[in-house]
């Protein structure tokens, strides 16, 4: 793989850009791999990357039914933060944030990480108390966040209607290191790095069956034939239950639709991410100038990647009240993704009832920000067969033991 650099740009400029090579190979699958990963979203690709980089395992295939990054990774609103309440969450999300801070250099691929700062508005007395509690928890966890009052909110984001009338802003939980990154670039950067290590990314290849022998994984059936493997990682977000069913077990997940939409581009007017969880809306401005907007999930099981109309209306209505400036904006695009929700709104990184089958799922509405940390922890789990410190609390056994990592009460909205 040729390195991307200013010299490469100069060299290519001299020859009509004819020398750029493909970012990744598209090989035919081999008969057998040491590790097979199902799902070439951010989490699957990051798992593969750290398997190679940290654990020296490069005999890896990543099998994807569509195109890489075409699932939730390419459909999310790219909010990155690590201001969670529980210690286990703070550890893995902050690991992810730390890795994001150096990711473009590490991958030699510009993921456009933009730590522009993130505000979670408190618009009720309860939220205010909740966020102050989060600030104290974050302090103990070594995650820097702070509580700011309404005047500081006004100074940071002048387009917010601080006074209400319905939901006046009382202050905000502020994480200066939070922000956004380019979602596609995260998938593409990891894919390029994996391919360069000799891993095979096999797109347009749907997994249709999981083969086991005496309770241990033997391989998978795919639309491109059977593939044997020593370990299998299921990293398929909204489709995790479908894959688990192929292996003969069930997961504590429900798949529901989550939507996002963007406005026509306008001049820069808001240089941070603002989340208004009470009214279930959040917004940031993309580099192109579009206002990127998201809201809450639908309540019912759904695999159609289409969400319900009333959520668009409710979220937009709430945000127009908070940001009156957007009331005349035209919305350009709307789309949906299928998110995998757990009861405690925390992810699952775990061994399963089938030996050498591992799952990484349950990231629900908020897993983009976790991609590097999740891949790191998952690689450790797959390479060693037992979880390291980051994944240890996120096993499936927590449901049996009643040891939840409750972020649903803590956040309300979990993007």
């Amino acid at each position: 793989m040729r390195k991307y650099s200013i010299f490469a740009v100069a060299r290519e400029a001299m020859r009509y850009h004819a020398g750029w090579e493909k970012a990744w190979r598209s090989p035919v699958p081999k008969k057998k791999y040491k590790a097979v990963i199902i799902g070439a979203g951010g989490h699957g690709l990051a798992t593969a990357y750290y398997l190679g980089k940290v654990h020296g395992i490069t005999d890896v295939a990543i099998v994807e039914k569509g195109w890489l990054g075409g699932g939730n990774t390419g459909r999310n609103t790219t909010i990155i933060r690590s201001n969670y309440l529980q210690d286990a969450s703070a550890a893995i999300f902050d690991k992810a944030l730390q890795l994001y801070e150096g990711l473009s250099q590490d991958l030699n691929y510009n993921v456009m990480f933009s730590p522009r700062g993130l505000l979670m508005l408190a618009q009720s007395e309860h939220e205010m108390r909740g966020y102050k509690r989060t600030v104290y928890a974050n302090d103990l966890q070594g995650v820097s966040t702070r509580w700011i009052d309404r005047d500081e909110v006004r100074a940071l984001v002048p387009i917010i209607n601080i006074d209400g009338p319905r939901y006046p802003v009382l202050g905000a939980l502020y994480q200066e290191r939070g922000g956004t990154a380019r979602h596609d670039a995260v998938a593409w950067g990891y894919a390029r790095a994996c391919s360069a290590m000799g891993m095979d990314i096999i797109q347009q290849c749907e997994v249709t069956g999981i083969r086991t022998q005496n309770g241990t994984v033997a391989g998978i059936d795919t639309t491109k034939g059977a593939i044997e493997c020593e370990t299998l990682s299921i990293v398929t977000a909204g489709h995790s239950s479908v894959l688990a069913d192929m292996a003969g077990f069930r997961l504590p997940l429900e798949s529901v639709a989550l939507q996002a939409w963007v406005s026509e581009p306008v001049k820069p007017c808001m240089d941070m991410v603002v989340m208004a969880n009470l009214v279930h809306g959040y917004m940031s401005q993309s580099d192109k100038g579009e206002m990127v907007i998201g809201g809450g999930t639908d309540g019912f099981n759904n695999y159609t990647q289409r969400g319900s109309w009333h959520h668009v209306e409710e979220t937009t209505r709430a945000l127009v009240e908070t940001f009156p400036i957007i009331s005349r904006l035209k919305m350009l695009r709307q789309w949906g993704g299928i998110v995998d929700m757990t009861g405690d709104r925390s992810p699952i990184l775990s061994a399963t009832p089938i030996k050498n089958v591992f799952v990484n799922c349950g990231w629900g509405t908020g897993g983009f920000k976790a991609i590097p940390g999740s891949g790191w922890a998952m690689a450790e789990l797959v390479a060693r067969g037992t979880p390291g410190p980051l994944a240890a609390d996120f096993g499936l056994n927590r449901f049996r033991e009643g040891r939840f990592i409750d972020e649903s009460v803590a956040a309300g909205v979990a993007h």
Partner: protein, 107 residues
């Protein structure tokens, strides 16, 4: 937009008038059950891509819980029925089989 007919009051209600309540026909376990049984009852879900039996409440109407059979891959509704049953009634199963001949049945 999802529209379901409440089997009690016969009203066609759209989703903002309804409240989704998750998988139906779960086998309940109580005191004396094993940890595994209780875990399965509380948390393990089929979450199928296809035919799904689920609980709904006519929250902005009569307020009662009812059950529905629906396809999560197409959003097609096969029918709704009373919650006072442990099994889907025959007319619902027939409606599903007519449209999904390869359906594996309620497992």
């Amino acid at each position: 937009m999802l529209i379901l007919t409440c089997p009690y009051c016969g009203i066609r209600a759209e989703e903002t008038e309804l409240h989704a309540g998750g998988e139906a026909h779960l086998k309940r376990f109580g005191p004396g059950a094993s940890d595994a049984e209780f875990e399965t009852y509380l948390f393990a879900r089929k979450n199928p891509k296809g035919v799904h039996f689920e609980r709904w409440r006519h929250s902005a109407g009569c307020g009662k819980w009812f059950l529905a059979a629906r396809c999560t891959a197409t959003l097609e509704v096969f029918g709704t029925y009373s919650a006072q049953t442990t099994q889907p009634p025959k007319h619902i199963l027939d409606a599903i089989k007519a449209k999904r001949p390869n359906w594996e049945g309620l497992v």
